[in-house]
Amino acid sequence: MSEFFHQYFDFTVMGDHFSEVLEGFFKNLLLFAVVVLLALLWGLILALIRQLPGKKFAPLRFLTIAYIDVLRAIPILIILLLISGGIPYLEFIPKDIRIPHWFGQPDPFWYSVLGLTMVYGAYMAEVYRAGIEAVPGGQFEAARSLGMSYGKAMRHVVVPQAVTKIPAPMLNEMISLLKDTTLASVVALGEAVLVSREILAESFNSSAVILAGAMFLVITLPAARLVDVLIKRNQAKVTRGAHIEVG
């Protein structure tokens, strides 16, 4: 039992390597920040394409649904390995794009951005869809009958209402995303898990890994509480006869 605590909860080891692990954790946060912005946008685009009406857009709808389904069905780890290992081989792409070193970040960072955005865009598209579908059909019809075009009706009436219904499930996706940034360790990005596993390899002590976990807790635990608050607040609105959130 004491061996267990020594192996995983040695505070001396944690203290000695605190700044290294923290530096790695900042990489997770940076990756998270970039991906969250891109995925929120990409997810909305996917959701809107999926809602396009009529026969004309059937092929586009089909492709989008296929994309969302496939990306949600493959382990992110495999997508990251494929991207980081595969894209550099595509010689028809200019080298600066194929092996990007933008804004002082190494290529594993950008491969992780791409992979996580592709997957989380698909996850978030589903959340948006739930939001859009929760807006009563009458809203859209009323907007159209006032002479708004399809695009205007979506932009000014449906989407603004849809996004007010989804903060809680979206925040859940974000919590998952923050945790999944650790998958970037597989493409050798020096984030918290990779750094702490390196410390494990040198010291044969796992405490740095637990320290990395604790850093995630500091962010994800309050975020989980916030999800609950959002849900409660929404329920209060419902009882007052306002709109309904999904999730």
């Binding site: 290992g85 550099p88 050798a188 990779l194």
Partner: protein, 280 residues
């Protein structure tokens, strides 16, 4: 109704998958077997009791193969050593984590398992003279300008997590961005893909990559302090002396060189031979 039936079908599918997975893992247990490698050695030696040897298999090219037909550098070397001792090596596949405890407790007489001689391990077991000197290789793309380890300073370099190669890179290449990949082949792939300019990795692994994957070459080999030894329980002085004597004979006769070249496709480093002899 429909929903429950679907759920049931899914459950059955999942169960079937799980059972296939379990069955798949059931193979390759820890069965005891006499060493493979052709078996020519066994016919001559018949004399003494079989020599039971523990090894964590597979760890190619040191130990590999299926039960009853194990082979590899360690295996063939141990067979040659046992033959000199007038005994027949009998290999037992075991887990590396517990291998030293097991030999100390007498589960088998000796361990040959690409085991680095360390002070920590020497407190639990006794090691033979070193039989293998591990070297690190600087792996680069074919036709690269990089000729030595130092040339990599300031460049992007890959290594495998938790390995000597990674330590070497950190010590020697202060100006480089060093990327620790989870597995060696990931690092080699990054080199081939062009995202890193060099890989520092165990020489046999590098040689394997050169032969099997192509497009890469070894720029330089760097010796390390690491040597591998055969472990026996503490106090088994007689057995240890016999092993050392046999190891020396195997080397002097040239059998060592033959086995080395067969498995590593490289000349054995000079240091290892002199070291083995000196340590007598």
């Amino acid at each position: 109704m429909r929903k429950t039936r679907l759920t049931a079908i899914f459950a059955v599918l999942l169960l079937a998958l799980a059972s296939v997975a379990v069955a798949g893992c059931g193979g390759g247990g820890d069965s005891t077997s006499s060493g493979g490698g052709g078996g020519e050695t066994s016919s001559e030696s018949g004399g003494g009791e079989p020599l039971s040897v523990g090894s964590d298999i597979p760890y190619p090219p040191f130990e590999q193969g299926k039960p009853g037909n194990y082979t590899g550098f360690d295996i063939e070397l141990m067979e040659a050593i046992a033959e000199k001792m007038g005994r027949e090596a009998e290999f037992q596949d075991t887990s590396f984590e517990t291998i030293f405890r097991d030999v100390a407790q007498g589960k088998f007489e000796a361990v040959i398992s690409a085991a680095t001689i360390t002070e920590e391990r020497e407190q639990a077991v006794d090691f033979s003279n070193p039989y293998y000197l591990s070297e690190q290789a600087v792996l680069v793309k074919e036709g690269s300008d990089i000729k030595t380890l130092k040339d990599l300073d300031g460049k992007t370099v890959a290594a495998q997590q938790g390995t000597t190669g990674l330590e070497l890179a950190k010590e020697e290449l202060g100006g480089s961005e060093i990327r620790p990949y989870p597995e060696g082949p990931d690092a080699v792939n990054a080199l081939k893909a062009g995202t890193v300019e060099g890989v520092i990795i165990d020489a046999p692994v590098a040689q394997n990559a050169v032969e099997k994957s192509g497009g890469v070459e070894i720029a330089e080999k760097v010796p390390t302090e690491e040597t591998y030894g055969i472990a026996v329980a503490q106090g088994e002085t007689e057995l240890l002396e016999e092993i050392n004597k046999a190891l020396k004979e195997v080397e002097q006769e040239g059998t060592y060189k033959t086995i080395y070249e067969k498995w590593f496709h490289l000349e054995p480093p000079k240091e290892i031979e002199s070291e083995t002899h000196e340590a007598e």
